[in-house]
């Protein structure tokens, strides 16, 4: 049984016929070839698969593609605009907020959500906001620095 869905991803509309059980993350990665969204735990703990659906972060490994029918999805591929890195990307690069990079796309999506909700977060608020994104490489300290730098760059900080 297949169901036809229409999903807007990074501003582009896609129509596909999918199995109802297809996970959103597999739809993005395998149907649309947007492999920047990663899979780390299939249980919505690690956050490597984080994307934004209708402007709110979602773990795409525990959402079905059919649930995204008619919705607007943003993935890591849609974060940089016209070849210009987003301040969060710049922050992570400048502050060495990544090592293997596998968690990074999901981390960026969550940080974007944080800064949208709270443009000038404290260190504690940053750490709390990242509790749904696991990083095994960095010990998070440089990620926290990166988020602070990004907040400053977008004008939230002093």
């Amino acid at each position: 049984m297949q169901k036809t869905i229409r999903v807007t991803v990074n501003g582009q509309e896609h129509e596909r016929s999918v199995e109802p059980r297809l996970l959103l993350v597999h739809f993005l990665r395998e149907e649309l070839g947007l492999t920047g969204t990663h899979i780390g735990c299939e249980s919505s703990v690690c956050g490597a698969c984080t994307v934004a659906v209708e402007g709110r972060t979602v773990k795409s490994c525990t959402m079905l593609a059919v649930q995204a029918d008619g919705k607007d999805v943003r993935t890591i591929e849609g974060v940089a605009q016209n070849g210009n890195l987003h301040p969060v990307q710049e922050g992570l690069w400048n502050e060495h907020g990544l090592q293997c990079g596998f968690c990074t796309p999901g981390m960026i999506m969550s940080v974007n959500q944080l800064l949208a909700d709270n443009p000038d977060p404290s260190k504690k608020e940053i750490r709390h906001a990242l509790e749904g994104n696991l990083c095994r490489c960095t010990g998070y300290q440089h990620i926290v620095n990166a988020v602070e730098a990004a907040a400053k760059a977008v004008g939230g900080g002093q």
Partner: protein
């Protein structure tokens, strides 16, 4: 802004905080990890694993799966019997290596043991098909789930072909330990248990295998740390010449040692791709990762330490029981021998005896995980040194300072026969003590204790053996290789035999090359992780990337510069010996002519006026064989407070003073320390694989196997001392594992110190609130 890729005026790249070359692809989602690879006609494999820890396989029925639409093939152990065994590189005389087939045949040895592989048109169908396979198991009673009990005479034998569960024994001693203990004023004993840890890189394992029938070439994309060694082993397992086998480590999402291995699924995917003549993808899920990716640690140590009453340490006795699991993986028996070598830590005592017993159990294999043998050793020595200080009524800082070799005693021969290369251990520790304000802290602690607060401070002064390493000490060679090729345009390719997977070697090696050649970093491309592009190499593990791989790069660069000087001299009509090279420009005091690096690069390819006795091209390949390991060291301090009501541990301050030799990129060294500390905090506070008595894994997902989150981590205050490594021209030691080695004992010593008013002398990890709370209740009532 401290980070830049623009070359600063009159400065070099080496030693600077430079942001990484590899990051643009990683932060934009355009990097290619194994699961991102798509091939036309690609099939998906899934593996059925044993639900029992110990069972005989009576029969397997695959008919149900074969009938399912989309299923292409099903393989049992019998079907893949021509594939060679999963290799183990251990070679001690007592070692028992049971035959380790890539799929179980008549018996399973642990929960998760691979039994059947299914290949289907998509990953969902492959997963569904696993449900339709019927395996008739005859589960065995008396699962061997406890390594200590496994040694009892009446324990069932994990491998019935052996008369007990001993996988190997290893003994080492030095000095006169009996005399040391007989003449000691004080002897303390401790039993230290370190549970198994799941390495848990966020990218699980994965393989894509593709076979070109015409060329007879098999390409394996694997999330591996050792593409060249994997190629050699796969060539043996699949009976192929190495030149028909190409192994590619694409972007690798973390390894921490768990991908420094040769896994059954790699040969399995390769075999299936050859059989079906279609590309195969296998991606591990998280549950499989926690279940079967070789666990780190898993040892039980009984240790005794002897000392004089002035605190001089005189001798140590150690017995390590190492849980091997049901099978060896690549380095399983080797890892705990490193613990034996490192048992003296940073201390001068010369008498010791150590017995290591590897024990087969019906649990998943153990093997290397970040630190591999050294965190185990450091944990034991740093715990018992604290215990001794407590027994002697001595300050734990003082006992350490008293027993370090002085900076003028290097190279320092350890009790276990290692030659520590260079260091000033007291200096690093004193910096940490000063920074934490130790004397003030002790006063505050007195006050806090009067109020009933449980405030503690924990030290770890660690030494590390890394930069693996001299070839005689390693099973597969400890050298590393590099090729530096200058292109006609003056751009440079650096091919390294290492296989970095997050360490940032594209950046560090570019820094080294840019300085040597006087060109911008952006003109350099570092190529790694592809056996078809890179000369033979060893890989990335044991904090060897920069010290060994970087040195090979350095040597190749020196050779290229030497050859370039010959060209430049010829172009300027002076002797090569009179040519100076600085900032990318060749010059000579004997002429006012200069030529640029780019001019020389072009001439080396055009060869319009080739100097006599030279060959065209500007390229060099060099191999570096180190004479010794390198020995980083440092001092970590944790200030902690334990909540009496909840048993929760709060880390108030964390200081790390590390010495990893010369630093190529301080930003990245900080990153390695931070990440390392997180992997010491995990086992200290929360991590640990839990099995029940039937060998069933009880915490096999990230829901119940906790790895540290952002809010668990303290702010790490980092400092460095810099003692150059004498064993390589770059002076670098290594830093990948230091944080993991140095942090765990600091946390545990801090908590024991906090709880010491209650009479607590030791607490086993992980120090969960529940365990700490129970301990507080127990002690408060007694």
């Amino acid at each position: 802004m401290a980070t830049t890729t623009t070359k600063p005026q009159a400065k070099t790249y080496v030693g600077q905080r430079i942001r990484r070359q590899e990051d643009p692809r990683l932060i934009t989602g355009t990097a290619t990890y194994v699961d991102d690879i798509q091939r036309p006609g690609m099939l998906y494999a899934a593996v059925l694993r044993s639900p029992y820890a110990a069972a005989n396989i009576k029969s397997i029925s695959t008919a149900g799966a074969m009938e399912m639409p989309g299923v292409k093939a099903v393989y049992t152990g019998k079907d893949v019997s021509s594939v060679g065994p999963v290799p183990c590189a251990g070679s001690m005389p007592t070692l028992r290596v049971p035959h380790h087939t890539i799929l179980a045949t008549d018996r399973v040895y642990y929960v998760g043991h691979p039994v059947v592989a299914v290949v289907a048109s998509d990953r969902y169908v492959a997963q569904d098909a696993l449900e339709s396979i019927e395996v008739d198991y005859d589960p065995l009673d008396d699962v061997v789930a406890d390594p200590e009990k496994a040694l009892e005479k009446d324990s069932r034998k994990v491998h019935p072909e052996y008369d007990d569960n001993v996988a190997f024994t290893f003994h080492l001693d030095g000095g006169d330990v009996e005399k040391a203990f007989a003449e000691a004023d004080t002897v303390v004993k401790l039993r230290v248990a370190a549970p198994r840890l799941a390495p848990s890189p966020i990218e699980t394992r994965g393989v894509v295998a593709e076979y070109d029938e015409g060329a007879k070439e098999l390409t394996i994309y694997s999330s591996t740390q050792i593409p060249h060694l994997l190629r050699t082993q796969l060539a043996l397992q699949l009976n192929l010449p190495e030149h028909h086998l190409r192994v590619i480590a694409p972007e690798v999402g973390g390894g921490f040692g768990s991908k420094c291995n040769v896994w059954a699924e790699e040969a399995l995917a390769g075999y299936i791709a050859i059989q079906l003549k279609q590309p195969i993808k296998w991606i591990e899920n998280r549950r499989e990762s926690i279940l079967v990716v070789a666990h780190g640690r898993g040892h039980l140590d009984d240790v005794e330490l002897a000392a004089k009453k002035d605190g001089t340490l005189t001798g140590l006795k150690l017995r390590i029981l190492q849980d091997i699991g049901g099978h060896h993986q690549l380095l399983t028996p080797i890892i705990p021998t490193l613990s034996v070598l490192m048992l003296p830590g940073l201390y001068k005592f010369k008498s010791f005896t150590a017995d290591l017993i590897g024990v087969f159990t019906n649990l998943a294999p153990t093997d290397l995980y970040r630190g591999a043998g050294r965190p185990e050793a450091t944990y034991v020595i740093e715990r018992i040194v604290d215990r001794m200080a407590d027994e002697l009524g001595m300050d734990p800082a003082e006992i350490r300072l008293k027993n370090f070799p002085g900076p003028d005693e290097f190279p320092f021969e350890t009790a276990t026969g290692l030659s520590y290369d260079s260091g000033d251990y007291a200096k690093a520790f004193n910096i940490a003590l000063e920074k934490v304000g130790y004397q003030d802290f002790l006063k505050k602690q007195q006050e806090a204790r009067k109020q009933g607060r449980l405030l503690g401070i924990g030290f770890c002064t660690y030494g590390e053996l890394c930069a693996f390493g001299p070839s005689p000490a390693l099973p597969a060679g400890g050298w590393e290789s590099a090729t530096v090729t200058v292109e006609a345009t003056g751009k440079v390719a650096v091919m390294t035999g290492t296989s970095p997977h997050g360490q940032g070697a594209e950046t560090t090696f570019s820094q080294i090359a840019a300085d040597a050649l006087g060109i911008p970093m952006d003109d350099i491309v570092v190529v790694h992780g592809d056996t078809a592009k890179v000369q033979h190499g060893i890989g990335t593990f044991g904090s060897r990337n920069t010290a060994i791989g970087g040195t090979a790069v350095h040597l190749a660069l020196q050779e290229v510069v030497g050859k370039a000087k010959t060209y430049a001299g010829h172009m300027m009509e002076v002797d090569a010996a009179d040519v100076a090279f600085e900032g990318g420009v060749f010059s000579s005091a004997k002429t006012d002519k200069t030529v640029s690096f780019q001019d020389v690069a072009l001439e080396a390819h055009l060869c319009k006026n080739l100097p006599p006795d030279t060959e065209p091209g500007l390229s060099a390949t060099r191999f570096f064989e180190p004479a010794n390991f390198a020995f980083p060291f440092g001092a970590h301090i944790a200030v902690v407070e334990v909540d009496r009501e909840t048993g929760e541990i709060q880390i108030l301050r964390y200081l790390a003073v590390d010495d990893c030799g010369k630093v190529i990129n301080p930003l990245m060294v900080d990153g390695q320390i931070h990440g390392g500390v997180a992997q010491g905090l995990g086992p200290a506070l929360m991590e640990g694989v839990i099995y029940d008595e039937d060998g069933q894994l009880l915490n096999g997902t990230f829901m119940d196997y906790p790895i540290p989150k952002a809010q668990h981590m303290p702010w790490i205050e980092s400092e460095r001392t810099e003692t150059p490594a004498p064993g390589n021209p770059l002076g670098v030691k290594g830093v990948g594992e230091a944080g993991t080695i140095g942090s765990l004992p600091a946390f545990v010593n801090g908590v024991v110190d906090a709880l010491s008013p209650l009479g607590v002398q030791h607490i086993d990890i992980p120090m969960t609130p529940q365990k700490v709370w129970n301990l507080i209740q127990e002690r408060s009532q007694s």
